[in-house]
């Protein structure tokens, strides 16, 4: 097979760079988990909510809290919202609460989405990415599950249909712990 110089150069470049990528943490599983680690105390924060009143994480101490970081431009986030709503309604009575933190700089797009897909759990707005940075969000969407004592227990990123099964199991386990 006759390969010209440009092809050879390109192939060599690729062969040289590709093996280095995992080592530089650019590819592979190690590059994914830069979020907050399970076992740490959930960082405190306070954000304005869609109801007009600010909500702080400390207000929710004593309950199992699921924080979902989402944006209206993120397909899997939009897909997940009705499912989170169902989760919230089912387990509200068992001492579980869910808050959706919208990470968009402008609330307008989020409002438009919520008009079409209303949810019953509180939506908080993080337009300056303060809480996203605090929780070291490394994927969209991101879900952090915090136990009754305020410790981060589970972290998920991305959403694939079926992930809600895992959330369910984790929430059940945590709500059964004595407050």
């Amino acid at each position: 097979m006759h390969t010209s110089t440009p092809v050879k150069l390109f192939a060599v470049l690729l062969a040289a760079i590709l093996p280095a990528l995992p080592a530089a943490g650019l590819a592979g599983p190690s590059s994914q988990s830069a979020d907050i680690a399970p076992g740490v105390s959930a960082p405190a924060f306070q954000l304005m909510s869609s109801s007009g009143k600010p909500i702080a994480l400390s207000d929710l101490k004593g309950q199992v809290v699921l924080i979902n970081f989402w944006a209206s431009w993120c397909g899997p986030c939009r897909q997940e919202m009705p499912i989170l709503d169902q989760l919230y309604r089912s387990y509200k009575a068992a001492g579980f609460t869910l808050i959706g933190i919208n990470v968009e700089p402008n609330a307008r797009d989020a409002d438009r989405f919520l008009k079409g897909t209303p949810v019953s759990f509180p939506i908080l707005f993080d337009p300056h990415s303060q809480v996203s940075k605090l929780y070291q969000i490394s994927g969209m969407p991101s879900t952090v599950i915090i136990d009754r004592s305020g410790t981060v227990r589970y972290v998920h990123h991305g959403y694939q249909p079926g992930d809600e099964g895992e959330y369910l199991n984790q929430i059940r386990a945590l709500t059964q712990d004595a407050p």
Partner: protein, 384 residues
């Protein structure tokens, strides 16, 4: 009769194959597109429908099918000078499967293109991988093609058959540079082997023994062709909600053709549900080493070609498009729909291909050929 250049089938296949490759973090959206296309210029009119359907099966697999029809009515300069007007149809079908696993997207597909005197089969395979926090996506692809060249005379297929095979390798990288800037790099190598010319086409040579001064003899091409193309594309998000993009591509092959393509585009959403876009594309190429509009005598070289596709020329294309988005309330299962119209005006100026329909006393001094064409696509898309 006169085929679309045989490369058309191969190239169409590659174009369709690459169009099937998507991002590696999510499967391509489920959608259906219905398109009507129309080309008119240089005595040729080609029109027809095209349908593309894509649907996810489960969470990891996406299937796609595309049907494309060309209804060709040709009285092009090549046809008119060496044959007679003809009508023909070309049918193309693409089948594709995409499989997503973690952040890797595997795609395979098969494309078939059929017309009375040409049959082309293509198979492709592509891997697309997201890296580095999804800021980088790289993809590798391989495409193989097998063509059977035939011949038809006034619609009647002749007992002529030749083969041509091809192999194509693609490498691509896309990189998020900033919150507003995307870079795309592509590299492609193509190798073709076999019967690479047209059984209908001829070259011209000076012949003092006939009145018009020139005669025709069949063209003769090399049995192999290797080509390389590399391109870079930038897309920039303008703060008032619009997008700018620029592309440059360099091409060179073993037939001696070198070409440059530069394209600048602008996209502007407006009035809530409309999007307008425009682009300007400039293209130029040098001629193939064995190309000549008029050879000095018969059998002047080992290889002889007079296909204007191998000539030296430059072209400019202007493109304007409008798209309207809707959310049908009468069908809740349709998430979103668009109605689109795109029109292009293409002007091609040949520097060494002469228009023999405008005869001159001395062969080779006819005016240089120019071609202008209008292309149109009207399509409706919906996502579900």
């Amino acid at each position: 009769m006169l085929q679309l250049t045989r490369r058309a089938h191969w190239l169409a296949a590659i174009a369709f194959a690459l169009a099937a490759v998507g991002r590696a973090d999510v499967l391509p959206d489920d959608r259906t597109d219905l398109l009507y296309h129309h080309f008119e210029g240089g005595g040729v009119e080609v029109q027809g429908p095209s349908v593309l359907v894509r649907k996810k099966i489960g969470d990891s697999v996406s299937l796609s099918y595309q049907y494309y029809l060309d209804m060709i009515s040709s009285a092009s300069i090549d046809v008119v000078t060496q044959a007679s007007k003809y009508k023909e149809q070309r049918t193309q079908q693409n089948f594709g499967v995409d499989y997503l696993h973690n952040n890797t997207l595997y795609s395979v597909g098969y494309i078939s293109s059929i017309e009375p005197d040409y049959n082309s089969k293509t198979a492709f395979f592509n891997i697309s991988q997201s890296l580095f926090g999804d800021l980088t996506t790289i993809n590798f692809g391989y495409t193989g093609g097998w063509d059977i060249v035939g011949k038809a005379d006034k619609g009647i297929v002749q007992p002529f058959r030749a083969d041509a095979d091809r192999r194509n390798y693609q490498v691509g990288l896309s990189q998020v540079l900033t919150r507003n800037l995307l870079l795309g790099l592509n590299f492609e190598t193509d190798e073709s082997e076999g019967y690479l010319h047209s059984p209908y086409r001829s070259v011209r040579y000076i012949d003092p023994t006939v009145q018009r001064g020139y005669s025709y003899e069949p063209e003769r091409y090399p049995g192999t062709r290797t080509s390389n193309a590399a391109s870079a594309q930038l897309k920039y998000y303008l703060p008032y909600h619009a997008a700018l993009d620029g592309t440059y591509r360099f091409y060179s092959d073993t037939w001696g053709i070198q070409a440059n393509t530069v394209e600048l585009g602008y996209t502007q959403p407006a009035f809530y549900s409309w999007t307008f876009d425009g682009s300007l594309r400039y293209y130029d190429q040098s001629h193939a080493s064995f190309y000549s509009d008029l050879f000095p005598y018969a059998n002047a070289q080992n290889f002889l070609g007079r296909d204007r596709e191998l000539a030296q020329f430059h072209s400019m294309t202007v493109d304007l498009g409008a798209s309207w988005q809707f959310q049908p309330r009468w069908a809740r299962w349709i998430q979103k729909g668009t109605v689109n119209l795109d029109v292009q005006r293409m002007l091609m100026n040949y520097q060494d291909f002469h228009n023999v329909l405008d005869p001159a006393v001395i062969p080779g001094t006819e005016p240089l050929y120019t071609l202008d064409a209008t292309v149109m696509e009207f399509f409706i898309s919906f996502w579900y």
